[in-house]
């Protein structure tokens, strides 16, 4: 356990030196971009399939939550200010990620870049509360500013 923690710290320090910018890095968690999960035809990438069931960190932005006091939010590739359910004309982009957080989500402004870490789940799922249909999710997730 001690060794593991030291490795984490070492890794964190190294990334700080290289990128000159601290990123939340965990020893066994890959940090990927949202676009790494989807092909252009919206099928899942090999990487997505390989990481299914594992904890991964994904960069992205928090779309304005669909409902208050929820542990659910949608991660988008680029800042998305408009709530698609509020504006009749707005549409979700194809490449999004549904996030089920461990705790009730402390809302972060739509244009703040996050790294969200959770267990990657693939396949269609309808949220019983919001009716939101997702094809890919992060479960038991936590998030930090990138």
């Amino acid at each position: 356990m001690t060794t593991n923690r030291r490795q984490v710290l070492a890794f964190g320090a190294a990334s700080f030196l290289i990128a000159a910018r601290p990123m939340p890095v965990f020893a066994e968690t890959e940090i990927i971009k949202l676009r790494d999960l989807y092909e252009k035809d919206q099928s899942f990438t090999k990487l997505a399939k390989r990481l299914e069931g594992q904890r991964v960190g994904v960069e992205g932005y928090m779309a304005p939550p669909l409902k208050a006091e929820s542990n659910f939010f949608v991660l988008t590739r680029r800042p998305m200010a408009v709530c698609p359910f509020c504006e009749s004309e707005a549409d979700w982009p194809d490449d999004i990620l549904a996030v089920y957080a461990k705790r009730v989500v402390d809302v972060v402004r739509y244009n703040v870049k996050l790294v969200t870490t959770g267990r990657l789940e693939l396949g269609a799922f309808t949220d019983p509360e919001t009716g939101f249909v997702s094809r890919v999710r992060l479960a038991d997730a936590t998030f930090e500013r990138a």
Binding site: K33, R35, K40, R78, P79, A81
Partner: protein, 512 residues
């Protein structure tokens, strides 16, 4: 002797250029510079330019939404740098000497900063219009259905149809979005795409009505959802946006139109000009070019299909082609997709030029409005347009490797936005309640700045970056293209199209 003299004179005439250059080289030290020679060559090209006074059989109006002079500058560099050039010297397909050009004032009747609805309407009707309305007179009122009555204008598409021409409309946005709607719709609210108040007609229905009326012959774009209601079982049906239970695609096909919904069905369509074509390739806007799957046609693919179809009419055609998402990426503050969609716009224009004849086709390239995009300095030559700004190299030509730093000690990108999602100001709760916006610029590396998803830094916090009232350019070649010159009002574009295609003598000016 006489023969010899004539020969000498004609040789002299033919070699005016050479004489001019000789004379120049004797007194001008820089005469051997390639810049100087290029300038001299351009003079000759301009002197050789002859006004084309034929009647235009075909009119093609290319509009890149949100592609003002600034955005176009960035597209030029992006396209050039992708071809291995430094970029600044690049010539887009519509920037060659055979194109005439002018600056365009884009304001609306009641707006300094225009939106795409009245600007499209101005180009399609010949008069400026009110903010958020399409093809209504000055008495029309935004969002007021009753104000449509008696105020609907005549469109260029209708005049072209009367003149026996076919009409096409192509867009990478929803085909019911403002710019394509300018071709065929008349509405008090650009947002009435799938439903409208009692007494008014939604834009999708207006498109199908105009198809049935024989005005629109081919329409290709996104926005499939606007044509379907829940439960539609048409092949290629999209997520329904209609609430009136209607299936407009079925409505169109029942009236004899063909429906296509992907690249395969588009390439399999009957292009003989006998049956109208309704092509809807996505439920909402089509993909940005960098995100586009192969199953979706590109703007260039749609341009080719539309011209192939419309060319079957011996009396010619009017075709409006919109690169709709240059605007959307600018709104997102995402310069990468702005420029890559602009590059695709340029490819579509090059193809349209290739597929048509300058003798009978007036090809116009313009934008509806500019954005709050801006450019930092002083970056060296060949600086990657999406990258951070590097210093000028005093000895060489290409930029140095030293990033320029602002007073906060941080580098900055060439492109920035005055407002938008990339704002460096973030809200914090103040002690007195309410929010106070403050912030500092984040650091940025070259890799981050050139990433496809990078959002450029902006100042004023806004969820969606705004248009600006700055001028756009218009470029044109073909019959009467020389009527574009100086600084013009946007609605004048219609008048050039109208003069070239309908008012000008069928025999050309020399035959008058």
């Amino acid at each position: 002797m006489k023969t010899a003299m004539i020969a000498a004179v004609s040789t002299a005439l033919l070699t005016t250029t050479a004489y001019a250059q000789d004379a120049a080289s004797s007194s001008v030290r820089q005469a051997e510079s390639s810049w100087y020679k290029d300038g001299q060559a351009r003079i000759q090209e301009m002197l050789a330019r002859q006004p084309n006074t034929n009647r235009a059989k075909n009119v093609i109006l290319f509009v890149a939404d949100g592609n003002g002079v600034g955005t176009n500058f960035a597209i030029r560099l992006f396209a050039g740098q992708n071809q291995g050039e430094m970029g600044e010297e690049h010539v887009l397909p519509y920037e060659t000497p055979d194109f005439h050009s002018a600056l365009v004032k884009t304001y609306n009747i009641n707006a300094q900063t225009p939106d795409s609805a009245p600007t499209a309407g101005a180009m399609n009707s010949g008069v400026k219009q009110r903010f958020n309305t399409i093809n209504l007179s000055e008495e029309g009122r935004h969002d007021n259905c009753a104000s449509e009555e008696g105020n609907r204008l005549t469109t260029f598409a209708e005049l072209a149809t009367e003149a026996g021409k076919s009409v096409g409309v192509v867009s990478t946005a929803r085909i019911t979005h403002a710019t394509p709607a300018g071709v065929y719709a008349k509405t008090a609210n650009r947002d009435w795409e799938a439903e409208a108040p009692e007494g008014c007609t939604d834009i999708a229905t207006q498109l199908v009505d105009q198809m049935k009326a024989g005005v629109v012959d081919i329409a290709l774009g996104g926005g499939g959802g606007m044509f379907f209601s829940e439960g539609a079982n048409t092949e290629g049906a999209y997520k329904a946006k209609r609430t009136d239970g209607k299936n407009l695609v079925e409505n169109a096909t029942d009236a004899g139109a063909q429906y296509v919904y992907d690249a395969t069905t588009l390439s399999g369509a009957d292009m003989s000009g006998e049956k109208p074509v309704l092509g809807l390739f996505k439920d909402s806007h089509m993909s940005y070019e960098v995100d586009r799957p192969e199953s979706e046609p590109s703007l260039t693919d749609m341009t080719k299909a539309a011209i192939d179809y419309l060319k079957t009419n011996d009396q010619g055609f009017y075709l409006e082609i919109e690169a709709g998402r240059v605007d959307h990426a600018n709104h997102d503050g995402n310069a990468y997709r702005t420029l890559s969609d602009g590059e695709e716009f340029a490819r579509a224009i090059a193809l349209a030029d290739e597929l048509t004849d300058d003798e009978d086709t007036l090809l116009i390239v313009t934008a509806d409005h500019e954005h709050a995009i801006a450019f930092n300095g002083y970056c060296g030559r060949g600086n990657p347009i999406l990258g951070i700004c590097y210093d000028v190299d005093a000895e060489g030509v290409k930029h140095s490797d030293t990033p320029l730093l602002a007073d906060d000690g941080k580098p900055y990108t060439v492109i920035g936005y005055l407002n938008g999602a990339g704002s460096i100001l973030t809200p914090k709760e103040s002690a007195e309640g309410g929010e106070v916006f403050s912030g500092s610029r984040p650091d940025v590396t070259e890799d981050e700045a050139t990433d496809v998803d990078y959002i450029q830094q902006a100042l004023i916090p806004m969820s969606s970056e705004t248009h600006s009232g700055e001028d756009v350019a218009v470029y044109a070649k073909g019959p009467w293209a020389h009527l574009f010159d100086g600084t013009i009002e946007q609605n004048y574009i219609f008048h050039v199209m109208h003069y070239a295609a309908m008012d000008a003598s069928a025999e050309g000016a020399s035959g008058q």
